[in-house]
């Protein structure tokens, strides 16, 4: 099945012996000139790339106190070394978070610290050579920016910030990553990652309405560009396109239908994902997010609800206000933004939805916390709401729920292995190996509790698991959208 060795799942997790350079060959395809230009970067490696890169690094360090502190404070305590799923899955010591940071830190020291300028060898400072740049390209595309290491770092050093900075410098000198930049270019022109034009979107949604009618006998709407709707739903375009995502979309439609909430998706802003975060580009982040603001304004909605997408929720929850806010035209009685899980949770708690839990009795369920939801945001108005709400929704809709080991859930959650702009076929070895820690934790609940349903609230996680589960001898059908669980248990029809 694979032309690389798939990590073996043991009886309990084992930290691997290091294998120097075992992933040095891993790197994603480089963006073509047209992809680079579509996101505002030079088409190919600049002649004076070194000068541009160092200037860019100076600009980033000056512009972000956090980045500078992360670069200055590491004391090499080693707490992070065995926390990265890519290290655990590949055994390459450069995938230890501290070693990944040091690829960047060594260059920072050389050009921006007194000791590094005059005594580089004493402080491990290195020149930014082409070899170093190539190493950056390889190993900063072996970080999914999941931030698990930062939870264990006594100083809170966030490798994701360093990885984003490194990728922005790479982009600035003309060496971007094809997967992210091609997709972002499509968002800027067409409005979604897939490049799904309006006609195809409308056709797909009409087909879905037919499917729901066949299943339920009811006219559940999946509207596009409906002016005056209360809710604008912003969801990953994978929800329109792929399985198991689409069953989640059907679940949202059923919830809105049963609650009597009018809603719409927008063909102009038909994407929740904003890959600009992965490449560390604030300009692109703002440009992509602005489509959502414009769509909400044009459609005259009262509120914006975000569907099951991990990093989109971080962007919405943590960055929208400063990027595209305040959105005074929205109705202030609703939280801004709202997550679809918050909407469903609130409706269930208020008794506005009738649920038949037994409809999910054939399932034994566990839940995967997505990194960007777990460590980059919150839900509801309670601390830890991002962990509590999804689980309460599942438990309200199903009788058999089992959590994975505590060191692998909540803020300790392991990345699916495909986050941070790495969900591309050219990184399959990294993705499959990086899934190992999550698969190890899954194995435990499968063995002990017969879990057969693996629920996630992120399109990247869903696609990554559909791909990686079979490598570990599990069925790809295990991965399920949270709102499929909801939709399957929801009693539709007239309320008393």
């Amino acid at each position: 099945m694979a032309d690389f060795e798939v990590p073996e799942l043991k009886e309990y997790p084992v930290i691997p012996l290091i294998q120097e350079g075992s992933m040095a060959h891993s790197k994603p395809y480089v963006a073509k000139p047209e992809h680079q230009k579509s996101v505002g970067y030079p088409g190919e490696l600049l002649d004076n790339w070194q000068e541009v890169a160092i200037n860019k690094m100076g600009e980033l360090v000056k512009g972000s106190r956090a980045l500078q502190v992360f670069l200055d404070t590491c004391v090499k305590c080693g707490a992070c070394t065995d926390k990265c799923h890519y290290f655990l899955g590949t055994a390459d010591p450069k995938n230890m978070p501290v070693a990944r940071q040091d690829l960047f830190r060594a260059v920072y020291r050389r050009y921006f610290t007194f000791a590094g300028k005059f005594f580089p060898k004493l402080v491990g400072a290195v020149d930014l050579t082409k070899e170093v740049l190539d190493q950056w390209y390889s190993y900063f595309h072996q970080c999914s920016q999941c931030r698990r290491c930062s939870v264990f770092c006594p100083y809170g050093i966030d490798t994701a910030e360093i990885s984003m900075a490194a990728r922005e410098i790479l982009d600035s000198v003309g060496v971007g990553q094809k997967y992210c930049n091609e997709i972002l270019g499509k968002v800027h022109v067409i409005g979604n990652n897939l490049g799904l034009p309006k006609r195809a979107l409308v056709d797909t949604m009409e087909g879905l309405e037919e499917d729901i009618k066949d299943e339920t006998g009811l006219d559940v709407r999946v509207p596009v560009d409906q002016k005056g709707a209360d809710v604008l739903l912003i969801t990953p375009s994978a929800d329109f396109f792929a399985e198991p995502h689409i069953d989640g979309l059907i679940g949202y439609a059923k919830v809105f239908h049963q609650a009597g909430i009018s809603w719409t998706v927008s063909s102009y802003a038909s994407e929740a994902a904003n890959f600009s975060m992965f490449i560390g580009s604030n300009d692109n982040l703002k440009k992509a997010a602005m489509r959502i603001r414009d769509a909400a304004y044009d459609l005259g909605v009262k509120r914006i609800v975000v569907g099951e997408c991990g990093h989109a929720w971080r962007v919405a929850y943590s960055f929208w206000n400063t990027l595209i806010g305040p959105m005074d035209f929205l109705d202030k009685q609703y939280p801004m933004p709202s997550h679809i899980v918050e909407v469903t949770h609130d409706l269930i708690k208020r008794g506005a939805l009738k649920i038949d839990k037994e409809a999910n009795d054939h399932r034994r369920i566990t839940f995967h916390d997505s990194c960007n939801v777990a460590r980059g945001s919150r839900m509801g108005n309670i601390p830890g709401g991002q962990f509590i709400l999804p689980r309460e929704v599942i438990k309200s809709c199903a009788n058999h729920f089992f959590d994975m080991a505590p060191e692998t859930i909540h803020e300790n959650t392991f990345c699916c292995g495909g986050g941070g702009g790495l969900l591309t076929d050219d990184l399959m070895e990294l993705r499959i190996k990086g899934a190992a820690p999550r698969m190890q934790a899954l194995k435990q609940v499968v063995d002990e509790h017969g879990v057969d349903t693996f629920v996630a609230i992120c399109a990247i996680c869903k696609t990554q698991f559909a791909k990686s589960l079979p490598y570990y001898d599990y069925s790809m059908d295990m991965i399920t959208s949270l709102h499929q669980i909801v939709g399957d248990s929801l009693i539709l029809g007239p309320t008393e």
Binding site: Y29, Y179, E182, I183, K186, N192, N193, L194, G195, L196, P197, R199, A200, D203, T204, G207, L208, D211, P236, S237, A238, F240, F241, A242, E243, H245, I246, A273, C309, L423, D425, D426, A459, I460, K462, T463
Partner: protein, 110 residues
């Protein structure tokens, strides 16, 4: 990258997707299928032809639901599901079938 089809060189991208979809013909489809380890049956052709028709009209490959429904209508209801499509195209109907149909790779979180 290039693919050799009956002595003619056909340009593809680094992942083997056709660079110019207007160049596509049955021989090229067969050559890509061989490289993917797929033996093209009538059912495979039904999928590939539907993808091309849909792309012609909508400028994008169909969503999985649209595809399964169309195949169900053409080949019988029991075949209108993604399990059947995965049997035909083990790497995933969207990506592998698009590649054989000479269409661009679907991008995004899919």
């Amino acid at each position: 990258m290039a693919l050799d089809v009956a002595g003619k060189s056909v340009e593809t991208d680094e992942e083997g997707y056709l660079a110019n979809r207007d160049e596509w013909d049955n021989d090229i489809a067969k050559a890509i299928a061989v490289a993917e380890g797929i033996d093209m049956s009538d059912s495979h052709w039904e999928v590939v032809n539907f993808l091309r028709e849909y792309y012609e009209e909508y400028q994008i490959a169909p969503a999985v639901r649209v595809l399964t429904k169309a195949i169900g209508k053409k080949l019988g209801k029991e075949k209108g599901n993604s399990k059947y499509l995965y049997e035909l195209f083990p790497y995933g109907p969207a990506k592998q079938a698009c590649k054989i149909a000479g269409l661009p790779k679907p991008t995004g979180c899919v």
